[in-house]
Point group: C2
Chain length 259, copies 2
């Protein structure tokens, strides 16, 4: 039996909320994009036409996502059970909302869905006008897909595809599959293991007399940003800490010999 | 004037080749996805219907990509100027082609397009049956988008969207924009700078007596895979090499004192 990623403990906590979508073909294409990437919860707020033949045609093998879709007439109802609401929008220069790109958004969602009873929504506005300020008021973050400045408006189904893809890529699934293929079975390092590594690195940098104490905080933040980006696995943490230990051993010997 | 990423020195070397596409609506949606992400070269090999009203409708503001599209009747002609041909396909378990996921593919493309006169193609097969072995014979790599095993077939325009998105994300553009926002202006390290770093790391690991010579090659490959994933910027390379130098300095002092 093939695995269905829609049962993944994190992916199943993500719902796609479509606000006043006007083209039912888009709703079908979105259902397909969701199922392709392991998302299952679709909520439609005041769709212009649903159910519809066009939606079913474009959904192709994802009719079940359409069948399970919930249709509501208020955005409040769609979002009331959510701990994290992400508003998909073009990058806005003048608003005070915290803004993320879609890759950062997926990281944020993965952190939130660690929590057993978390529920996350990604909210998409109307095809022609996006989200209004009133709708943005429901959002904790605005999220954008980097685009070509001369032509930045994605089709809504294409936008959902990219969001859903980044969510899948941010899970442990893809990393696990890849490491299995390579003959490794390493898991991504946990937050605690990462903290242990940063603490070790901080100590080693002092032992080898590299770190200027006045600049510690800024420097370590930079190191964290760099290594967090890497998404280290457990084995890599072991290797890096092995290198740190070898350096520290020499530093200690040197100190003894100098005394 | 807004910048047009289609003039980006790397993005403009990438062409999307569609082989025997049957739904002209998909061709339009692909043109839109390409322009959104800064790609401009579209080549159609034996499309069922082109030009077409449906393609133009779905292209929305990307009619210019359709206007500039080249229509050919042989795949050989479409690929003959290419140094790197990527075949988009579902993940195949039984073929001997080297296989990458779409994110790794974008990295590969960015490395190839360092070269001034490089030309890269990403080849997409028919909507219903993908690429045959004959078409795969033209490909240097097969590339797949990670998907839900129970429903792994993406719409072709959705697939092009994800490939084009990963290409844009792999350029220096997005990193630059982000680092500018953060107040940094670092550029991504070049291949040459990365090689310099790996050489330095290799030397340092011997100096601190960490590296077991018998395992060197495997170990360094692992280090490369880890740091390549990070996409180091120029400043980060400087910092890391600073740490290596500090360790080496102690190793040298220790050696002198021991003699």
């Amino acid at each position: 039996m093939l695995e269905d990623y829609r049962n993944h403990t994190k992916l199943k906590k993500i719902k796609i909320v479509l606000f006043e979508t006007s083209h039912s073909g888009n709703i079908g294409a979105i259902a397909r994009a969701m199922k392709n990437m392991g998302l299952s919860q679709l909520v439609l707020v005041n769709p212009k036409e649903f159910p519809s033949q066009m939606a079913s045609a474009r959904a192709s093998g994802a009719a079940d996502v359409l069948d399970d879709a919930i249709v509501l007439d208020s955005l409040e109802d769609a979002l009331k059970d959510c701990n994290l609401v992400i508003g998909a929008s073009a990058r806005l220069r003048r608003v005070s909302w915290p803004q993320l790109d879609v890759r950062e958004t997926a990281q944020k969602i993965m952190a939130t869905t660690e929590n057993a009873d978390a529920q996350v929504a990604i909210l998409f506005g109307r095809e022609d006008s996006g989200l209004s300020n009133v709708e943005m008021d429901h959002c904790h973050y605005l999220a954008n897909i980097p685009t070509n400045p001369v032509y930045s408006s994605l089709n809504i189904a294409a936008a959902v595809q990219v969001f859903a893809y980044e969510c899948l890529m941010a899970t442990d699934i893809v990393v696990k599959n890849k490491t299995t293929q390579l003959g490794y079975k390493e898991q991504l390092a946990s937050g605690k293991q990462l903290e242990g590594f940063y603490e070790h690195l901080y100590q080693m940098l002092q032992d080898i007399e590299f770190l200027d104490p006045a600049k510690n905080a800024l420097f370590m933040r930079r190191m964290r940003r760099m290594f967090n980006r890497t998404q280290l696995d457990v084995k890599e943490i072991d290797i890096l800490r092995g290198i740190l230990t070898a350096s520290q051993r020499q530093a200690k010997q040197l100190k003894v010999l100098k005394e």
